[in-house]
Structure formats: C-alpha cells, structure tokens
Amino acid sequence: MQVDIRTKLLIVAIFSALALVYQNPLILGIILLLNLLTVILFRVPLQIFREFKGFIYMYAVLMVIQSFFVRDGEPLLQLGNIYLLTTDGVLYGISIMLRFFILACSGIILLNCNTSELILALVKLRIPYEIVFMIQVGIRFIPVFMGELQNIFHGIQLRGVDLRRVYKRKVLKVYVSIFSPVIYSVLQKAEKLSILLELRGFRKSPARTYYRDISLSRIDYVVMTLSLIVTVALIYAVRNL
C-alpha cells in the first residue's frame, strides 16, 4: 500500500502512544498484532526482525529481576524464602517485550521511509526547519556512527586482537579504548559538516525550495480515519480490562 508519509507518522505515533499507555500483556499483544499488520501492509522488509533474537535473554533476566525484587504475585520458582520467578514477574517481562516490539516495529516503519520525504512531512507539519534539520542530521549520522564502530572493530581484530577471547577479561579496557576515538571522529565529522553547510549556503535565504513533493490522496484520508476509529474502538473496548 502506497500511503503518504504523514499517514505513516500518524500511525506510528498512535502505536507508540498506546504501547506506552497500556501495561496489560493482552492489550499489548493486540496492539502488536495490529502493528505487524501495518508493517506487512506497508511492505516493510522483514529480515530486520532476525536481529532481535539477541534480546530474548534480556527479557528473561528482566523477569527474574522483577520477581526477585518486587515479590508480587504467585511464586513459580522459589529457593527457600527467595522468589526467583513469580507470575507478576513473568507478566512484567512479557509486557516489556511486547512494548519493545511495538516500538521497534514503529521504528522500522520510519526507517524504511524516504528520509527526504520524512523531512518534508515534518516541515509541512510546521515544525521549525532548524529542528527538522537536526533530526535529519541525526538520522543521517546513525549509519555513519555504526560504520565507524564497525571499522574500528575490524581494525582492532585485524591487528591480531581476538575480541571474542578478550571480551571476558579486558572487556572494559577495549571498549574504553574504542569509545573515545569514535566519539571524537564523529564530532569531527559533525564539525566539518557544519562548515560545509555554511559554505553551501545553508539558511542563506529564508525561502528554500524542495526537490520532492508529497501530497495526501484519498487513500491517506481513508487510512487515517480508519486508524483513528480503530484506536478509539480499541481504547473503548479495553477500558475495563
């Protein structure tokens, strides 16, 4: 489905807000299902979900921590007087996981949008251009930052340091040694960028033009109205849960 970027923004905003408001795993599950449906409708590539496998352990740990410290609900796993796993802990872990996935799906929808269109949408929503520009640069710098980190990881390993072996013993040392240069070089890039912008006439005249154009079509109005109706219906339906 080909919809305007503002429609996508609205949907993403609704999903994110709902994910933050509700805690009940059942409701979050419904929201996630709807969210996945939109992800599929918007034809967002799904390979990226494979990257999420690594997070599963984190939720298990969260469940244990929650059970251990909060001690609410029925104990499921107990060591003397210490609660290792409680029903509430498990539910808590599940809702955090669902929330994470909802926010991740929303993020993926946004990441798959054309950046120039996203920027233009924000401009059309009357957000000051300076702020929009900062967002644009922020988006632009994520891959730069990741690439920089990866280069340095490769550089370190190719100089004979096996990070997988080192990890356990000297993990902090390696990370500290990587972190500062990455920050430094990214800052340096940012500084160069700001100079380049001035040189190319950024903000020189108040009226700038845009190469692309975006427009709302009938399908956008339909989708927006539908999503608002579904949202209201959802809120109404689950108000007693």
């Binding site: 280069n151 340095i152 490769h154 550089g155 390993q157 100089r159 004979g160 340091v161 070089s185």
Partner: protein
C-alpha cells in the same frame, strides 16, 4: 606453496544488481609480489576485503594458508595478512601515534623494549618520530596513511595488502615505501599493492593482475620463487 587461493569467488553488495567481484579465481604464493590494478569501481578493494574475511563471498571458496577462510577468526587472519585500508583514518583508534603502532604489539605480548624498538624503527624510517605523542586524528592525510602503514608493518605479517598506499604521500616517502616493501619482500613477506600510481607500480614490479567490472581480465600469473 599457495598461500591464498580464490576459487570462483563472487560478491554482490546488498541491494546492488551488478556483482562487485565476479567469478574470480586466483592463486597467490607465499612471498609473492602482486600489483592489482583496475579502474574506479572495478572491485579491487572488495577483493581485498574478501581475502581478509571482512566480506563473505556469496559463491566460491577462499583458502588461506591451507585452511578455508571461514575457519579463522578475524584476529587470526590479521596475524597472517596485514591490511592497510584505502581510507586509513578509518583504522585509527588510539590516543597517540606511538600507541597506534604499539597497539597490536602489546596484544601480541611483546615486551616494552621490543615495542619501543619497533615503533621507533618504523616511525623514524618515515621521519615521523617527532609526531609520536600527537593524536592520530589530527595528523595530515598523508601522515595518517603512513602511521597506519607503520602500524601494520610493525606486526610483521606474512603477507601484506596495501590499498592505494601512495594516495596522499609525498615523493620522498613514496620512495621510502618502495624501499621498505622491497626489503620485507626480500626477507620473505608477500606483498600486494592496489594502486593507480604507475610510477610506483613500475618501481614495485609485481605480478600484474588487472580487474575490469569485477572480473580478473589479465593475470601475469607467474610465481616468483
């Protein structure tokens, strides 16, 4: 003996239609000198990254020193094959020029004196010793490039791959670079340079391999042992 062998290796970058490296088969002996040439975008750097295991070929097989490349960790590959990237500032991550060169040596467990000796030897060779306490990021482009070259040379790998090593260095240091490459080659290290610099390549005088659109179209193919 064959040190690096590629069999029908192809690699296509994500989202690209054309393969960056197409059906490349090569056999490189230990202690060989190779000049890899080709137009911009012909796949030279990609080939280097494949040999170093930074990219995984979609088809084909790469064997390094008798074992498939997949059997090595990056660190093990780095011990055998030194690599100077095309954009050397990517590989600077230490807080001083001295530490940049000492880094690999420290992790190899070398003693203080030995580390000092190697750092001094290579930095002095390129007349950069006076910069030893500077931040690597703040050097000039050519200086950065030379620091990375020193850092890789100091590790004394068995094979060395340099991607556009002469890009921003001056004539004086270019001559020095040729001298040291010839010297380590005579001492038994294999060297592959990727370059557009004909003068440099003539002086280097390696087995000429030429790439076009991802394919090896010319290979002088002589073992020089």
């Amino acid at each position: 003996m064959t040190f690096i062998s590629l069999q029908e290796v192809s690699y296509t970058y994500n989202g690209r239609k054309e393969a960056a490296v197409k059906n490349v088969s090569l056999s490189i002996a230990e202690r060989e000198k190779i000049s890899l040439t080709g137009l911009n975008g012909s796949g030279k750097s990609t080939l280097a990254k494949l040999i170093l295991g930074l990219l995984k070929p979609q088809t084909g097989k790469i064997v390094l020193d008798g074992l498939p490349l997949g059997k090595y960790s990056l660190a093990k590959i780095g011990e055998k094959v030194g690599y100077v990237v095309q954009n050397p500032s990517q590989m600077l991550f230490n807080t001083s020029v001295f530490n940049e060169i000492a880094f690999g040596l420290k992790w190899k467990g070398k003693g203080k004196d030995e580390i000092f000796h190697f750092c001094k030897k290579y930095l002095e060779f390129f007349e950069l010793w006076h910069l030893r306490d500077e931040l690597p990021f703040n050097l000039s482009e050519g200086q950065k490039q030379l620091v990375v070259i020193c850092a890789v040379l100091a590790l004394q790998p068995r094979f060395l791959i340099l991607d556009e090593p002469t890009k921003s260095i001056d004539t004086f240091r270019k001559k020095r670079l040729i001298d040291i490459l010839q010297e380590i080659w005579h001492l038994g290290t294999g060297v592959m340079v990727i370059s557009h610099d004909m003068e440099f390549l003539t002086a280097f005088d390696g087995r000429r391999i030429h790439m076009e659109k991802g394919e090896v179209v010319e290979d002088a193919g002589r073992y020089q042992n």
